[in-house]
Structure formats: C-alpha cells, structure tokens
C-alpha cells in the first residue's frame, strides 16, 4: 500500500489554501499593530524627556509650548485607580451573587443580558448621562464625576469578565466544600475567590485598561485643566484628552506633546497587561487545575 504524500489530493490543497489565508490574516493583524506602535513611538519618542513626565504645561493654557504632561499622567492614574476600585466594590459581589444564588436561572440570564447591553453602550453616551446628572445636581466638572462615570463604564466589563471566569468553577470543588457543611456564602468567599483569583485579577485589569483609555466619557465630566489635580471636586486633565486637544492644535511643539501623551498612555496599558499576566501566574499556586 503506497503511503507517500499525495500533494495534489483535493483535501490537502484545501488545507494548504486555508493555512495560507490564516497566515495572511496573522500578518495583517500583526502588521497593523506594528504600524500603530511604530507611529506612536516614532513621533512620541523624540518628545520624551524628563520635563515631559515631570512637569505640567507652561506658558498659558494647555497649548503652552513648554513643560510636559504630568497633569494628564497623574489625572489619568487617579481616574483609573479610583474608578476601578469603585467598580470592584460592586462587580465582585454581583459576580459572586450571580454564581451563588442566581446560577443559570431566568433572573441570572436577565442580569447577564443587562450587563451585556450596558457593555455595548458607547462611552460618549455614558459621558452625556454623567453630564446630565451633573447639571441636575448643580455640580461642576470634577475628578469625582470622572471617577463615577468611568466606574459605570467599567462595571459591566468587569462583572461579565468575572462572571465568565467564575462560571468555569469545577463543580467538584464546590461539592467538596459543601460536603463539609459550608454555607453557599462560605463557598463563594472562601473557595470560589481563591480558585478564581487569577481570572478575577485579569478581569479587573481588563476593565482598568478600558477605563484609563477612555476619552468620550471624561470629556464633559472630568473637564480639563493644565494643573495637577489636588482635590476630588476640581477638574482634572487625562491622557486621552491630552492627546485629543494637543494633536488638534496648530503648534508643532504642542502636537509633539500629544504624541508623547499617546506613547505614555500606551506604555501604561502595556505595563498593566504584562503585569496582569505575571500576577495571574503568581496567583496560580494553589488553584486546582
């Protein structure tokens, strides 16, 4: 019986064709990513200097030709950290409640559907919603308003991501804990969170990355300023808006600052991504595979 390769057999040709298509797709995606990174790095890097990351803009409003984007860096870190912490406060209990008490029931599906819809709402709509609330309460643009709106955006993302992870909980583990006389709450808090810690961390950092990079929602709610924010009730600069405003100016020095802000934002998100992978690996120590 001849088992030599039949190169021109139809199904092998089809496989070769598909492999080639997949490779082309991979090249396009990697190429696009590379091109984006290249543009940001090549234009932002020349503008990077110690002043850029350690000073606020000088010489008149954000269009000033000197100084850096420290106001935006600090502002974004405050916005990102504040909103993520606020979102965790709600997301983790909701995700655990979904798992423990709602499971796959009708109500559970309604909650998941609502979260999916909220996830899909464009961030400028959240921004408009936040703005309307601010007018109704007579508030001005502030760090706090920005934190609240970003937390609203992050909440469905974080909750759904956590939910997806928690749903994969091996039933054996839960049963083992229940067999010892645990209440459902004890199983959720002592066993599920331990087992799902890497996944939960990833969910949190995913939402953080989304929040820190959002421009449309902070546009009306957090405002903008060329000073470093020092109170929850004052407006704050943010990196996405720094990019937006500065790229739109006619001065090349200001535009350069815009690219630098974009580069800094990319670096922050990259660091968070890598950090989340590292942390997940560390937290994997006790999980049951």
């Amino acid at each position: 019986m001849g088992m030599k390769k039949k190169h021109f057999e139809r199904r092998h040709l089809v496989e070769l064709f598909m492999k080639t298509l997949m490779r082309i797709a991979l090249v396009i995606v990697a190429g696009a990513l590379g091109l984006i990174l290249w543009t940001i790095i090549s234009r932002g890097f020349p503008a990077m200097s110690w002043e850029m990351v350690s000073q606020s803009p000088k010489g008149g409003f954000y269009m000033g030709k000197e100084g850096g984007v420290l106001n935006a860096i600090i502002g974004s870190l405050y916005l990102g950290a504040g909103s993520t912490l606020l979102a965790i406060f709600f997301s983790l209990p909701i995700a655990l409640y979904l798992k423990t008490y709602l499971g796959d029931s009708k109500w559970g599906e309604y909650v998941r559907l609502s979260l999916d819809v909220l996830w899909g709402i464009p961030s400028i709509v959240y921004g408009a919603f936040g703005f309307t609330l601010m007018i109704a309460f007579g508030l001005r643009a502030s760090l706090l308003a920005g934190i609240i709106v970003l937390a609203l955006i992050e909440l469905p993302i974080m909750t759904r991501a956590m939910d997806e992870v928690i749903r994969r909980m091996p039933a054996d583990l839960e049963h083992a804990a229940l067999a010892l006389g645990s209440t459902k709450l004890e199983v959720a808090l002592r066993v599920v969170t331990r087992q799902m810690l890497p996944g939960i961390t990833t969910a949190i950092l995913l939402a953080f990355g989304r929040g820190i990079g959002d421009a449309a929602s902070v546009l009306f709610t957090a405002g903008y300023t060329d000073r470093i924010v020092n109170s929850l009730t004052r407006p704050t600069a943010s990196l996405p808006l720094a990019v937006f405003f500065q790229l739109g100016s006619p001065y090349p020095e200001v535009q350069q600052r815009g690219y630098a802000a974009a580069l800094i934002l990319t670096i922050i998100v990259l660091a968070v991504s890598l950090g989340s992978r590292w942390l997940s690996a560390r937290l994997n120590k006790y999980t049951v595979k």
Binding site: A176, L178, G181, S182, R194
Partner: protein, 251 residues
C-alpha cells in the same frame, strides 16, 4: 441491631423518572454497610439522600423520610449545613480545595468554629493527618499546595479533611475507583481501622471490595432494595433470586 440511619418510604424522582422506589431500610451504627448492585440501580442516588446532596441536582424531588438518630434530616427546621457536618462524604474523585495541605484540613474546623486558637488548630491538623496515614509524608510541607500531592495522597487528604469536622457517619461514593491498587488498599485499611468510631456507608460496584469491607450489605436493583442483611448471611445464603444471580456474577 443499633440503628443509626432509618429510611422510611423514600422515593426519588429526576423529573418524570423515578430513580428510587419505596426504600425502607436501616443502617447499623458503627459498622461498615456496603450498598451494592449493577450500574444504574440507584446506589449513589440513595447515598446522596443521606447528606442531602441530592438537592444540588436540578429537578430532583424527594418524598419520604431519612432519620439520623431519630431526627428527620429533611425536616423544614433542620439546618442542612449541620446535616453535612454530621454526615461526611468521601467522593469518587479526590477534590482538594485550592489551598495548602494545612488549610484543607483546617477548612472545616474554621467554618464550624471548632477550635479556639492557632495551636489547637495545628494539633488537630496533625491528628487527622496521622489518622489518614499522611502525616509522615507531608509534615515537612504543610504549606505546599494540596494539588502537589499524588492522587492516592489526595484521597487520604480528603478523608482527613472530612474527619476533621467530627462527623458521626462517613459516606463513601466509590472512594477507591479512581485510585491505583496500592492507594485503594490504603484507603480500605483506613476505613477498616475507623469502623469502630464511625458508621460507614460505602457504595461500590466491585463485589470483591464489598466482600472485603462489609459488615452489613444492601443489594439494589433498578431503584429498589432487593435484599439487606448482615454480610455473612447475604453473601453465603442470599434469599432472593436476583441477589443470587448478582453474587454469581451473572450480571
């Protein structure tokens, strides 16, 4: 016979299908009872009614009573977590909790607040690991993940963990079927050692294991109890034809 568990008119339905039909049996205290029968006869279903695990399956309906020392565990006033403290389960596949070896054993004692301080917990963890025959092998690495143990060691860990909540009854759902012969023998000898302190009920599909372990035997077929009695009687002089056939290996 000193009865520990009494089952009265127990019927179990999975949706429209009836899995257990009119069960009326008694489980003797401080002996090893083996529930045996061919696949699908309902032995695991019956076992799971003893620690109210059946409720975890969607669509399972139970009628009748299961009395432990005269108290109906299905009564509305009864706390299911207390039932599961009194009736422990050793599952077929070892499931260590996602924690260290030490924390696995201490888990049950923590949730039921059974000890006063750290030194009491440490002493108790050591005690139960010794009973399960695991202390020598793990005492130098108590804070390693429980998943780093071999499967036979994990099952012994699960046994120690279950004993740590001081149950009166130990249920075993084919506790050695996932293990290699040496680990199986290990678990079997542990169970034999423990039989004077705990009432043990084991489900097995291996007749040989039943013969090695049983003091009391319950034979089931298609959701009904065909015969129940002391092991010596049932194995040497079965009263029902079906039991005879099963023992002779006809099916």
């Amino acid at each position: 016979m000193d009865t520990h568990i009494q089952v009265k008119n127990l019927n179990v339905y999975y949706g429209k299908q009836q899995a257990l039909k009119g069960i009326n049996i008694e489980i003797p205290k401080k002996q090893i009872t083996v529930i045996m029968g061919p696949s699908g006869c309902g032995k695991t279903t019956l076992l799971k009614t003893f620690n109210r695990f059946l409720e975890l399956t969607d669509g399972a309906q139970i009628t009748g009573e299961v009395l432990v020392d005269g108290e109906n565990i299905y009564d509305q006033e009864v706390d299911v977590t207390e039932v599961r403290k009194v009736v422990g389960l050793l599952a077929q596949r070892p499931s260590p909790l996602p924690m260290s070896i030490y924390e696995n054993i201490a888990y049950g004692m923590h949730i039921h607040k059974m000890k006063k301080d750290r030194s009491e917990y440490k002493a108790a963890v050591r005690h139960y690991l010794e009973i399960a025959g695991l202390w020598e092998e793990v005492h130098k690495r108590l804070h390693d993940p429980a998943t780093s143990l071999s499967i036979g060691q994990q099952q012994r860990l699960c046994l120690a963990r279950g004993l740590a909540v001081e149950p009166e009854i130990i249920l075993g759902d084919e506790p050695t079927s996932a293990l290699d012969p040496i680990s199986s023998q290990n678990i079997e000898s542990r169970l034999l050692d423990l039989k004077q302190q705990y009432t043990t009920v084991i489900v097995t599909h291996t007749l040989r294991q039943a013969k090695r372990l049983a003091d009391y035997v319950i034979y089931m077929y298609l959701g009904e109890v065909i015969e129940a009695g002391p092991a010596k009687e049932v194995f040497t002089n079965p009263k029902h034809e079906r039991t005879k056939q099963y023992l002779e290996g006809l099916f």
